[in-house]
């Protein structure tokens, strides 16, 4: 079942840091059960940036939460350097995976100043003296480009970009291997976003960080990710090396996603696949798991699409998709 779910990049290169095997997370609300993750398999290699994209509710944050260990899967396994961490993690394991969330307005405790915010993770994960902790706070602030003079300030006195820097400093404090970045720049202006992206890339190089970059901004993904995972209603529908996934979208949902990106120049426009915005689609939703999850919105559905969830198949060693009538084989299926 996990045949093609393994590594995208041929072995020998960076070793696998995190392996996710057939992860499922069901939420039951009242009498309804939603599979936020419906069997996700994925390898994350050390030092890479893996982007997770998909519309709201597709399961991106849920996936991040499983990796962080702040939520448990219904079934499936998570391995870190080959060691299973699905159910339990020790303090050192928790130290190694950190998070930066979307809204800098709500993720920093408004009642604590920057020193208190940053001292907490330092105190938990090391036994430095008070003096050493304070020095480390100053150092962390410098690393993310905030003046150490701001140490006694409260989050509300900072701009959105500065807050996001502090959130990044907090994630760096325990010297992690992996940072889950959940929409780290979505609430920021393009200009501030550009600065945070630069900082992320610098920090990654300096500290050999591995990023799980959750976002719905595909133009950002194009420029920062090594690999992209496209989620649709809890399923991985396409996955591949960044350039390949953008230049040759195979799954119809990925094509729709790419064709929606607002761009600012002709050369970019030319890279977008076309999409039938007025194409006719099936109105009635098939029952969960019985068909391609994208079927109700897909103008390219063929009879086969209704026969179970399409499995991931490899197009190239670094590109997989789960579409029964993929974009490249359009002519073959039409006649």
């Amino acid at each position: 079942m996990t045949s093609v779910a393994e590594s995208l990049v041929p072995p020998a290169e960076d070793p696998v840091l995190i392996r996710i095997e057939d992860l499922r997370r069901d939420f039951t609300v009242g009498s309804r059960t939603v599979s936020a993750l419906a069997g996700v398999s994925l390898d994350i290699r050390r030092g890479q940036t893996v982007a997770v994209v998909g519309e709201s509710g597709s399961g991106k944050t849920t996936l991040g939460n499983q990796i962080l260990g702040i939520d448990r899967p219904t079934s499936g396994r998570i391995l870190f350097e080959g060691r299973e961490i699905t159910a339990t993690r020790d303090t050192d394991m928790r130290r190694r995976i950190q998070v930066v969330q979307q809204s800098p307005y709500t993720t920093l405790n408004p009642k604590r100043n920057l020193r208190q915010i940053l001292e907490l993770p330092i105190a938990i994960h090391s036994d430095r003296s008070r003096r050493q902790r304070r020095d480390r706070v100053a150092e962390l602030l410098e690393i993310v480009g905030v003046s150490a003079d701001f140490m006694e300030r409260y989050p509300y006195t900072l701009s959105g970009g500065q807050r996001q820097r502090v959130a990044l400093a907090r994630a760096l404090a325990p010297e992690p291997d992996v940072i889950v970045l959940d929409e780290p720049t979505s609430s920021l202006d393009v200009s501030v976003q550009a600065r945070i992206l630069q900082l992320l890339v610098e920090l990654q190089a300096q500290y050999q960080l591995t990023y799980l970059f959750i976002t719905h901004d595909l133009s950002v993904v194009r420029n920062i990710a090594d690999e992209v995972v496209v989620l649709y209603r809890g399923y991985v529908v396409e996955r591949g090396a960044t350039a390949e996934l953008f230049s040759n979208p195979l799954h119809r949902y990925n094509a729709m996603l790419l064709s929606s990106i607002p761009v600012v120049s002709e050369p970019e426009e030319a890279l977008k696949p076309s999409w039938e915005w007025d194409g006719s689609v099936v109105g009635v939703e098939p029952s969960v798991g019985a068909a391609c999850p994208f079927l109700p919105r897909c103008p390219h559905a063929v009879a086969l699409c209704e026969q179970g969830v399409p499995p991931l198949v490899a197009e190239t060693p670094t590109h997989q998709h789960a579409c029964r009538n993929p974009r490249s084989s359009e002519s073959a299926h039409r006649e």
Binding site: E55, V192, A194, S219, R222, L257, S260, I261, V264
Partner: protein, 322 residues
């Protein structure tokens, strides 16, 4: 091309008295919309885009604010309207679409109640039954097949994309002359945003409404608008037809804004603009972009809004078009 502007904003100033002093937020904003024209107002966060829109909607009226200048809709002076006068204008001749459909729709009323009320406000002679029929018709028109079910639903029971469709329908149901759309659909996914903009284009075309689109997303501007105003720190710094603005931006701010956008062509990380939007209680004198401008020099002073080529205007003493 726009011989007869439908909405005109002239030399608009907004001052807000605050604890730190008086903030001079809008500093002589002038813009106009031709009948049926789609115009964008773009700029970084805090540049005054929403303030301009809210004044045009008569929704900016704190006791600590003073507003000067002129805003006219088909010749009617809007700044002089009282709350009574606004009732005949807002939602009928000029309406607004907000960023977050979840927040803009009232959560405790059904979609049907809200649409029916909007229709009867625009056309007080309509009976509830007639209004209900018109509401259902309007929803079917925007490709919502099960209109009756949607009318009976509360906003939280519907997806964000569907709510956005409803908001746009509501804004257009009385066939207004002008629609002000503040970041429509940007709280949603790209696919929904794209659908939202397409729908807005089709519907406003159909009723002949002009649109003032407010956004900081330059990509959205490029596909939607025919003409663009670039706003920086409470002033319009550039105005051009959309294609011209993207081909040959003249103001250093517009150029910097474009360079900050990540590109689908994958040419690497975008360039940030150094510094930040200045504090309005103590803005730089003269060109407000000067402290952040890579070309700033002593000669900058207080540049006029020049028109180096027909329809392309720029507030900068230097010419960077080459």
């Amino acid at each position: 091309m726009n011989a007869d502007p439908i909405l005109t904003v002239e030399d608009l100033h907004l001052r807000i008295r605050q604890f730190e002093g008086e903030a001079h937020i809008l500093n002589g904003v002038s813009l106009h919309l031709g009948a049926g024209e789609r115009v964008a107002l773009v700029g970084e966060s805090g540049c005054g885009k929403s303030s301009t829109a809210l004044i045009a909607m008569g929704l900016m009226n704190g006791g600590n604010m003073s507003i000067d200048g002129r805003v006219t809709l088909e010749g009617t002076d809007l700044l002089g309207l009282g709350e009574r006068g606004w009732r005949n204008v807002r939602g009928r001749q000029i309406s607004m679409v907000f960023q977050d459909p979840g927040a803009a729709l009232n959560p405790v009323f059904t979609v049907g109640d809200q649409l029916v009320t909007a229709i009867r406000r625009g056309d007080p002679g309509t009976s509830r039954a007639e209004a209900h029929e018109r509401a259902a018709e309007a929803l079917r028109h925007v490709h919502i097949v099960d209109a009756e079910r949607v009318l009976a639903s509360y906003p939280f029971q519907l997806s964000g994309g569907l709510n956005q469709r409803i908001l746009i329908t509501m804004a257009l149901v009385n066939r207004p002359r002008v629609v002000v759309a503040d970041e429509p659909g940007s709280a949603l996914d790209v696919t929904v945003q794209e659908q939202t903009l397409r729908l807005m284009k089709a519907l406003t075309d159909e009723v002949g409404a002009a649109v003032l689109l407010i956004t900081h997303n330059l990509g959205v501007v490029r596909t939607f608008a025919q003409r663009v105003y670039v706003m920086y720190s409470g002033t319009i710094v550039e105005e051009a037809e959309t294609a011209r603005l993207f081909e040959a931006p003249r103001h250093p701010y517009t150029q910097a804004l474009l360079a900050a956008v990540p590109r689908l062509t994958g040419e690497g990380l975008p360039q940030p603009i150094p510094g930040q939007v200045p504090d309005y209680t103590d803005p730089p004198v003269g060109c407000r972009f000067q402290p952040r401008c890579p070309h700033a020099r002593a000669a900058c002073g207080n540049p006029p809004f020049a028109e180096p080529e027909p329809g392309h205007r720029v507030r900068c003493v230097l010419d960077f078009s080459g």
